[in-house]
């Protein structure tokens, strides 16, 4: 009997747990340790954040699903990994603190034979003074509850506009090293749509503030999109949308501090600026969740499992090298820790070898450069590969991970809705293949032009709706869920 423990129940962790449970015979245990009782389909938080969807539509309680599937569920927050065990606990185990309200808070030890770290990120609002909804002055759509608060604040701003008061709304990135620019892009245009729907667009200055050096970078060094008979840089493609909707953009910005009504930021030219705001939704930078690792004698071995960023080291090439020397093969393909062979990490939890976007710093040395995105579709895809590899090794069908799932050989779709309504909705649909550009296989653009395309229209909005319902259907493990592709 093998025991597989999965830390986290987001898109990556939940996918891994369901695939393992479906693949492994019942004598093997699949256990999920997650601090939250619900699964959150984060891409639809954007609609919650503008008040167009109820929070309940984007979350799914995990306990009933796991009870039905035969997956052990421990609602707890993992804090330590003991990959070698210790004299009192001979096998590897993790330590977790229960998070069920009203339950005992004494730490529990959970033994494992195989471990998948899918904890996602720690959202670091604390990296920018005044950032975030908890003690700060800005809003976020990182979690379903943050999105609900953002919707309330946005509605208050709209009501002030209806009373004739001009408002400045700022959406974007709250730090120079943020990732998930696509989410901020999408939220910007959902806000813009809401302003028009309420008839107050002329009273709003809408500003997109980002750490990208160019519009359309999205943390993947931009794209060359096939669109309308042209190979169009994503800076032009995205810029066209900004111009069409009269959204102002501040590029290459590192937010230094946020005060009530005022954002202080530095741009790539090293100059300080101020931006007034009445409503701001700024995403935070991410780090690992801060797990510690200990050896058999209690010694701290965190650096064998985790990079300084807190993300888990896997089979990537972490040798520091300049942008010009980056290669697709730097990126991991099995997501296995090189020291502890029964430990894997997927989704945001794995440490990327380097960014994808060209690194940039201001003359004052401030890093203003997007971190690489690895959420949504890629995280589910790598989670499935890791789960199937572990199942193969447990069942004796393989001795090494045989399925390789590198972001340098994996595509991604980004559908950024820009308005709601089944017949009148609009969205920017973009896909890229692969995520990490390969200038050897595709000289010039670095990506396969057949699958790197983008267009705007109601069709994209329908795709976004289909994805919402399809992935929530899958998350609920309804009949034939496994046929829904990642």
């Amino acid at each position: 009997m093998a025991r597989v423990v999965i830390l986290g129940a987001g898109i990556a962790g939940h996918t891994a747990a369901m695939v393992l449970r479906r693949t492994l015979p019942k004598e093997h245990v699949v256990c999920v340790v997650s601090p939250k009782p619900d699964y959150n389909w984060i891409p639809s938080n954007i609609w919650v954040g503008v008040g167009r969807m109820a929070r309940e539509k984007v979350v799914v309680p995990l306990a009933p699903i796991y009870a039905r599937l035969g997956i052990e569920f421990i609602q707890a927050s993992a804090t330590e990994i003991h990959p070698a065990g210790n004299p009192n606990h001979p096998g590897p185990y993790i330590v977790a603190t229960p998070t069920t309200p009203g339950a005992a808070t004494e730490s529990v030890e959970v033994a494992y034979d195989w471990l998948i770290n899918a904890t996602g990120p720690k959202v670091r609002f604390d990296r920018t003074p005044g950032l975030g909804p908890d003690g700060g002055h800005t809003h976020s759509v990182c979690t379903d509850r943050h999105a609900v608060d953002a919707a309330t604040a946005l509605d208050a701003a709209i009501q002030r506009m209806k009373a004739g008061e001009r408002q400045t709304l700022v959406v974007g990135m709250g730090h120079g090293t943020c990732t998930c620019e696509g989410a901020a892009f999408e939220y910007t245009f959902n806000v813009e749509h809401e302003l028009r729907r309420h008839g107050v667009r002329d009273l709003a200055d809408l500003v997109y503030l980002t750490n990208e050096a160019e519009l359309g970078d999205f943390g993947v060094d931009g794209l060359v999109i096939r669109n309308g008979g042209f190979h169009t840089p994503s800076s032009v493609f995205a810029g066209s949308f900004f111009a069409e909707r009269s959204v102002q953009a501040i590029l290459g910005a590192h937010v230094q501090a946020i005060e009530p009504g005022l954002i202080r930021y530095e741009t790539l030219d090293g100059v300080d600026h101020e931006q007034r705001y009445d409503f701001a939704m700024l995403l935070p930078p991410f780090t690992g969740v801060g797990l510690k690792a200990f050896g058999a004698q209690g010694e701290d071995i965190t650096d064998t499992l985790f990079a300084p960023s807190g993300f888990t080291k896997v089979d990537a090439d972490y040798t520091p090298k300049p942008y010009e020397a980056w290669k697709p093969t730097d990126w991991p393909s099995t997501y296995r820790n090189p020291t502890w062979k029964n430990v894997f990490a997927v989704g945001i939890a794995f440490a990327p070898p380097h960014p994808i976007s060209r690194p940039r710093t201001s003359p004052r040395g401030t890093v203003i450069s997007p971190a690489p995105p690895r959420t949504g579709m890629p995280s589910a895809s790598m989670a499935r590969a890791v789960a199937e590899n572990i199942a193969d090794m447990i069942l004796g069908r393989a001795t090494e991970p045989e399925r390789l799932s590198s972001m340098a050989n994996m595509g991604a779709a980004c559908v950024a809705s820009a308005g709601s309504g089944f017949w009148a909705g609009n969205a920017v649909a973009m896909t890229m293949f692969p995520i990490v550009p390969d200038y050897t296989r595709w000289p010039g653009a670095g990506r396969d032009e057949r699958f790197t395309f983008g267009e705007v229209g109601t069709a994209g909005h329908w795709i976004k709706l289909v994805l919402h319902h399809l992935f929530l259907y899958k998350a609920r493990a309804k009949p034939f869920w496994w046929m829904v592709p990642e």
Binding site: S240, E400, N426, T431, F433
Partner: protein
């Protein structure tokens, strides 16, 4: 284009309208249902093909094992 609080001297990193913007016909086509139904089918087919290309590849048996 600049924000009202950002002076023009900082326009190095501020987006300017130097991009194409859609014509009235393009805007109309974005909501023209027969065309959008066709694009929905076409985009889905392209995305499914892209997803199939993204599926994990099998390790080359002749390749050296990971350290």
């Amino acid at each position: 284009m600049t924000t009202k609080d950002t002076p023009m001297t900082t326009q190095t990193y501020v987006a300017k309208i130097t991009v194409p913007t859609p014509t009235a016909t393009t805007l109309w086509m974005r909501g023209f249902l027969p065309w959008q139904l066709w694009r929905f089918v076409w985009l889905n087919l392209k995305m499914l093909r892209m997803i199939s290309l993204s599926h994990p590849t099998r390790r080359d048996p002749s390749a050296p094992k990971a350290p």
